[in-house]
Symmetry: C2
Subunit: 130 residues, 2 copies
């Protein structure tokens, strides 16, 4: 007998477990900010392969995990792919205006200085994308 296949589940903090400090830490990285900005602009969940990032696949996986464990995004398996979505309702309920203010600040900074996670010359080293 084999164990019946179960849908794999990734660990997420419940809304009441989300804390401000890890959320700010999750948002304090250029690549993670870029991921969050793309998710905010998308109407639906996005697979990891949607994101073309200037980092290796393992680094990319790390960044998604930091965002998930802080409570910024949900990651749910669809088959073998992970579907990613912002936890906007949770964040807006806990920290009103925070996500939008950070997104606006990130847009303004990218307009002033370029996006280091999109334009490697602006700060990050380009390697294979994940």
């Amino acid at each position: 007998m084999t164990t019946p296949a179960r849908p794999r589940r990734l660990a997420h903090p419940a809304r009441e477990e989300i804390r401000l400090e890890p959320v700010l830490h999750a948002l304090s990285d250029a690549v993670r900010l870029r991921i969050v900005r793309e998710m905010a602009a998308a109407e639906t969940g996005l697979s990891c392969s949607h994101f073309v990032l200037p980092v290796t696949k393992s680094t990319s996986t790390h960044h998604f995990r930091v965002l998930r464990e802080a409570g910024v995004i949900r990651q749910d398996y669809r088959g073998t792919a992970k579907l990613n979505a912002l936890r906007r309702a949770d964040l807006d309920a806990l920290f009103p205006g925070l996500l939008d203010t950070v997104l606006t600040a990130a847009e303004a900074q990218a307009a002033r200085h370029g996006d280091p996670a999109r334009d490697p010359a602006a700060g990050l080293t380009a390697t294979a994308s994940g």
Copy 2:
């Protein structure tokens, strides 16, 4: 002959050098958030000795340095003491609403769960203050 004494100066980023990611990182720690909340509530600059923090003096010095190097606070010598003040005008000009949104979120979280940098039982270990 001795070199004439000069006022010591600490390094600060100019306004146009301040970046969102280090600012968010500086704010992503319970002790640093508490420092910033106290500065925001104060009308004037505060000496380091004003802050009673649940960390050692060297850790406290580290936290102030992270805040200064990110551009969140100014630290200026007055004699042998450092006077600390928020760079509110710079932050508000670069990232409108960000500081106030984070401060409001920190207050709301402290009301819900207690302040881990004030109440050691809420998360931080209490040691000698700096």
